[in-house]
Every structure is written in structure tokens, then in C-alpha cells.
Amino acid sequence: MSINRREFVKALGTATAVSAVGFPFIVQAGTKAKVVVIGAGYGGGTAAKYLRKYSPDIDVTLIEKDKHFYSCPFSNEVISGERSLDSIRFGFDGLAGHGVKVVTDMVTDIDAAKKTVKTQGGKSFKYDYLVVSPGVSFKPGGIEGYDEAAMEKMPHAWKAGPQTALLRKQLESMKDGGVVMIAAPPNPFRCPPGPYERAAQVAHYLSHHKPKSKVIIMDAKDKFSKQGLFTAGYNKFYKGMIEWRSAANDGRVLGVDAKTGTVMTEFDEHTPDVANIIPPQRAAAIAVNAGLTNDSGWCPVDQRTFESTQHKDVYVIGDASIAGKMPKSGYSANSQGKVAAAAIAAQVTGVKMPEPSYVNTCYSLITPDYGISVAMVYRLQNGQIVGVKGAGGLSPMKASEDTREAEALYARSWFYNIIADIYG
């Protein structure tokens, strides 16, 4: 493709404008701006790729503790047996192909004063800009007794990978007539519709293989994402199989005893056959340790750029950040990664940061052929990310069967496209 006249003029204009102000913060010839990205999930992978897309003069190093990334979106289909664990596992060769230096190591320390990160492997990386996209961690003491050992008995499966496989295995070995208990966390948490899609996916598996079984959602909340659509979907496909207990109805799980398989609430104790405990959450440990979080446990940022309000030149994106009205979702993280990449590219090259635009779409599958969604386009207003008035919202309650089927098709399409957008 050749570039058109308008772009050519614009390009020249940019270069001239830059020279006129004497390159305020511009990399010197021969030295590239160094950006380090921590975490190769939906947020970090996107930021790394788009930094390279926006300017080939940015040197990008992506540090990720695992050799592969397992996607949380669509991991519920692994739990239901509709897809394999391999099908949600992605490598980083595509990112390397864009010139991203991929390092397999765990960041143990961020020194924002010296602009350096250190890793478990003993390496040290200097940066001009740091992008932190570490995801969530579980709040210490969020659920009493839910330690590392308990996770192996009562999986959270809220970070995809071995935990996903473990929950799947437990469902497979459960007897017909068993009870699956899903403990849903309080707000805010990663993937607001996730626990409720999971209930549907588990019920989908059970209804075909163990139809006398039950799913009980124990909730720390009194309402949840896409509640009307989920409830209608449960009634349509899994009548009598899924029960939801609100916080007001003693649904909030306070503790577990992994040895006896007991789940405890304020007034009761349960011994389900499979316990899927999704604990209360906060930003990942590295963000907490680096002083990027505030009292809420999440990372406050300038919502225009995602630069931390606590450390200069450090950008926090994805689930760990406080991003106004945006939910903690894969698509949010992808969208935020592009905004942060543009903010950094603008600074590096001395052009004006464009007015940010953000988007989120979350699909949920009630059955493999019955999808629902929530979507929103966001903009910045008085420093806060807000939904554009009149836009977005839920799939209609009264949509036709054809529409639900099309939404299921487009849900899968979304998965293929967003993964290609990040890792392709």
C-alpha cells in the first residue's frame, strides 16, 4: 500500500514540529527507547505487539514467567469438555516475529527510582518506560484456610492452566448425583460474568453425562453480571440443576477445610463433591510489592495513558489497574494495552497523544450454541473512563434463537481474532 497525500503531509508536519521544539524527550539517533513489559497475557502481549506496530524505534522486552500463556476466556469450555487445554495455550513466537524480545523469567523487583527491574533468574533490565500487566492475585486471608495446598484440593481455576485441568478432572471423576459448588467472589474481580458462565458450562457437561447432579453458586454478592440473561439461560437449558445463593441468603463463603472438603459460610457448612473456590482478589503480588497499589488493592492510574499515579514512567494495564468503568476482562486489557502503547509511542516520538478510545465486549456461552454478550465503548471524561452515553449494553432478553446461535459463533470468532491480535 502506498500512503496517501494527507498522510504524507501529516508525516512531514510531525517531523518538522518535532525538530522545531528541539526533541524534548526523543531518543538519540542509534539509541532506541527501552520499554519493558511485565506479563504476556491479554494486556502485556497486546502492549508489546502494538508498541512495535506504532514505532519500530522502540526496543521492547517482554518478561513472562511461563513459556506459554493459557487464556482464561474460553477456559470454561475446557472445564465442560468442549475443548482441549492445548486449544487455549499460546506461545510467543508471533511476538518475537514483531521484534519483541521475549524473556522467560519472573520479575521479583521493580525499582522505579533507578528504572530497573530484577528477575528471579538474576537478570536486571533497565527501562525508559515500564508496562506492568501482571493480572490478579488472591487477597491474603480472603477465604480462611484457602492456601496453596487447599487450591490443589479445591481448585480456583481462575488462572488458566493446570488449575483448569484439575477442575475438569474432578468433574470427570465425580459420581452422578454429586454436587458442584462454585464460590463466586465479591467485586471487583477478574471476569465478572465468568463464574456464571462456568456454572452453565459445568451444567452443560453434567446434563449430558451426570444428569442427577447439581451446581450451587455460592455468592459473595446480591447481584451479578448479565443476571437476567444467565437466569433465563439456566431455566431454559438446565432447569432445576443450577441454584444461586446470594450473599443475603448465606451464600458468602468465608472459609474452607481442605482436609475434610468442607466449605463454610456464616451460618452453615457444606461438603460438596467438587468445590471450585474463586477467592476475593487484588492486583498481582509484583504490583503490590512495587508500591503500585493503593488501599483498594488495585493500581490507580492516569486513565488517559495508564501511567501509574504512584510511579512515573510505569504504566499499569489489565486486571491490576483501576480503569474507571471498564470491567476486568480480556478485551478491556487488550484495549488498554493499545492505549498505553499509543501513550508511550507518542512520548517517545514527540507527537501528541491521541484522544483515547476504549472498548469491551464479553461473550458468555450458556451452551456451545447459545451465546449472550455485554458490550461498551468507553471514552475519557474529566479524567475518568466512562461508557459512551447511549452505547453498549446487554444482548436483548427477547432475542431469537438465531441471534443466540449467531452470538455463540461470534463469541468463538472473537476468541480467534483477539488471540491473533495479541500473539499473531
Binding site: 500500500m1 502506498s2 500512503i3 496517501n4 498522510e7 504524507f8 501529516k10 508525516a11 512531514l12 510531525t14 518538522t16 525538530s19 526523543i26 531518543v27 538519540q28 539517533a29 542509534g30 506496530k53 506504532y54 514505532s55 519500530p56 524505534d57 487488550n334 493499545k338 499509543a342 509511542a345 507518542a346 517517545v348 516520538t349 514527540g350 507527537v351 497523544m353 491521541p354 484522544e355 478510545s357 472498548v359 465486549t361 454478550s373 458490550a375 465503548v377 468507553y378 459512551v388 452505547a391 453498549g392 449494553g393 444482548s395 438465531d402 441471534t403 449467531a406 452470538e407 461470534y410 468463538r412 470468532s413 472473537w414 476468541f415 480467534y416 481474532n417 483477539i418 491473533a420 491480535d421
Partner: protein
């Protein structure tokens, strides 16, 4: 690719002006890249959501406006389109129209495609959509190499008298009336088979 060429040019421009660092057109990228999560990087969809890269600029603009105004059925696009103003829609339409078209990778049933070709000629689709699904009309979308599933879904909605249809596509309601799902699939496979 557009970005690379633009960058290469900017490097040249930058060297002339003495500036080393360069960037893509961030304004156009910012607004357009919000679409990529569902429609693929630069609009080259690898799922069943339609390819929008290299689509007619006028068609893209009109389609977004139709979604916004409730004049076109979409599973989710009405909700999304209402998030963008006219200027943003113009920017993203221009941006995607400037990207290279990438044919959808999908399995095509050749028997269905052959039947579809006959329907395409006999039912008069050829009038607007061209001999092989590529049209010179600026408000008519390219169908050659588009996703078959998406085209079937769209045609089914165009058939349905209870569902909104873009004014420009109104003739299709009559033309598609009475066609079976098999017929629609045949048409879609014909267009999908074209490059």
C-alpha cells in the same frame, strides 16, 4: 503493509529533519484498533466475524451509521456503533478501507458453490454484486472471500420482514424471499470460493 511503509517514509522524513524516532498515524490507529479484538488486526478477521480490511469506505461508513440508527440487524454491532460519532466512523472507515483485503480462510463446498453460482446469476445478485462478488458500486460490499457463515446470517436477517434492513439493501428482501437455507448457503459458498 501500510504502517511499515508509512514508517519507512517517516524515517526518511525524520532523517531530513534530523529526528530519529517515528510513529504510525496514532490518531487513526487509536480509534480503529478498538475494532481489532473482534474483526482482527487491521480488519483481517480470522474468525467468522466479517473481514473489514479493504472494504469500500462508503459501505463501511454507511453500515456503521445504519447500525447506529437501527436500520440494520446486528447481534452486537448496534450496541457498539452507538459508541462512535460521525467523525470517528469516518476515520475508522477510511482506515479500514486503506488496509489490504485478506481472503477468509475457510473450507468451501465446491458442489454448493456451483449451485450458488447459478443462483447468483439467475436471481439477479450479479446486478449489484458483480460477476464474482466484487462490485464497483461504493455502497456495495465485497463478498468474494468473505466468511460464509456471516453471509448466511446476514441474508437470513434480510429475508426476515420483522428485522431492520438497510435502505440500500431493500431490494434483497424480495430477491431472497422464498430461498431455502440451503440456497443461502450455496450463495455464500459461491462468494466464499471467489478470491
Amino acid at each position: 503493509m501500510k504502517t511499515r511503509n508509512l514508517s519507512a517514509l517517516l524515517i526518511t522524513a525524520g532523517l531530513l529533519a534530523g529526528a530519529p524516532a517515528v510513529a504510525a498515524d496514532l490518531d487513526a490507529e487509536m480509534i480503529s484498533n478498538t475494532c481489532a479484538g473482534c474483526h482482527g488486526t487491521d480488519g483481517a478477521s480470522v474468525g467468522q466475524a466479517p473481514v473489514i480490511a479493504g472494504m469500500n469506505e462508503m459501505y463501511l461508513m454507511q453500515t456503521m451509521q445504519n447500525y447506529k440508527d437501527g436500520l440494520r440487524y446486528g447481534t452486537i454491532m448496534e450496541r457498539i456503533a452507538r459508541g462512535y460519532d460521525k467523525g470517528q466512523i469516518m476515520d475508522m472507515s477510511k482506515h479500514y478501507a486503506g488496509q489490504p483485503w485478506v481472503n477468509a480462510e475457510q473450507e468451501v463446498d465446491s458442489a454448493l458453490a456451483a449451485k450458488g453460482k447459478q443462483l447468483h446469476m439467475a436471481k439477479g445478485c450479479v446486478g449489484c454484486h458483480g460477476a464474482n462478488g466484487i462490485s464497483p458500486i461504493p455502497t456495495t460490499p465485497r463478498l468474494a472471500g468473505q466468511y460464509a457463515d456471516y453471509m448466511v446470517i446476514t441474508m437470513q436477517q434480510y429475508q426476515n420482514p420483522k428485522v431492520a434492513i438497510p435502505p440500500v439493501a431493500m431490494p434483497m428482501r424480495g430477491m431472497l424471499a422464498g430461498m431455502s437455507e440451503e440456497d443461502l448457503k450455496a450463495l455464500a459458498h459461491f462468494y466464499a470460493s471467489q478470491k
